[in-house]
Symmetry: C2
Subunit: 114 residues, 2 copies
DNA sequence: TCCATATTTCCACGATTATCGAATTATGGA
DNA sequence: TCCATAATTCGATAATCGTGGAAATATGGA
């Protein structure tokens, strides 16, 4: 994961609504939430929410899938883990430091064994 | 750690020079680096660097101490750990997720036992 | 086909951010 | 005290960002 990509991910998270949105999806798990449900939960106008979803999506932090008329968004746990890993890389020059943890989801487990 | 503070920390990291700067300090360890040394390492004009140091400092991600004529900056590992913890909190509603890891420095160890 | 629902794109505005030279402040040595 | 070094603050400029209403684009059901 190169630095430019990380900056985009951090910028995507560095905003009130988007941070709340991302955490909402992180806590919602792999099933995700529809755009409308998110708008309701956060109290953000649809057009604004759409803008923020695009930012997070563009940064690779969330993924989109369609279910009927709804677009379902969910957190990309692998991206989150990579981001955290990048921040903590070579912490203290490697001395006395624990490695970054990961959120191990079912989909991640599959991805790893694949 | 409340959301507003986290947004400030993320915004501080969401910039090329500052991300490089923070990682430089993370890897330098608790001894830190003088402002001049950082400017040299990153190739950033002194006044610009000062601006970026202030942002990171303001966000609580780095700390400053004086040594003679030099100001030494170092990463605040506790803040970094808190930030990562906040992002991954209640991941997947708590199911099947490992907790966020921490970078355990000597100073952190002391802080914990205190 | 026609309509209702779900969501996105467009647009214009005000607000915030990054940049860096010049001037300023703090510290230590002669 | 006077000077050199280390770093910050000031100030002006260009660029990017967040906002939300209105219009446009899917999708599914009658």
């Amino acid at each position: 994961m190169e630095s430019e990509h990380v900056v985009r991910a951090l910028a995507a998270l560095a905003q009130d609504h988007r941070l709340a949105l991302f955490r909402l999806l992180v806590q919602a798990g792999p099933d995700g939430l529809a755009a409308g449900a998110i708008a309701g939960a956060l109290g953000v106008p649809a057009s604004s929410l759409s803008f923020h979803l695009a930012q997070l999506s563009n940064a690779g932090l969330i993924v989109q899938r369609r279910d009927g008329r709804s677009l379902i968004y969910s957190a990309d746990y692998a991206a989150m883990n990579a981001l955290v890993g990048f921040l903590m890389a070579n912490c203290c020059g490697g001395a006395a430091c624990a490695p970054a943890a990961e959120c191990i989801t079912e989909t991640n487990r599959e991805r790893k064994s694949a």
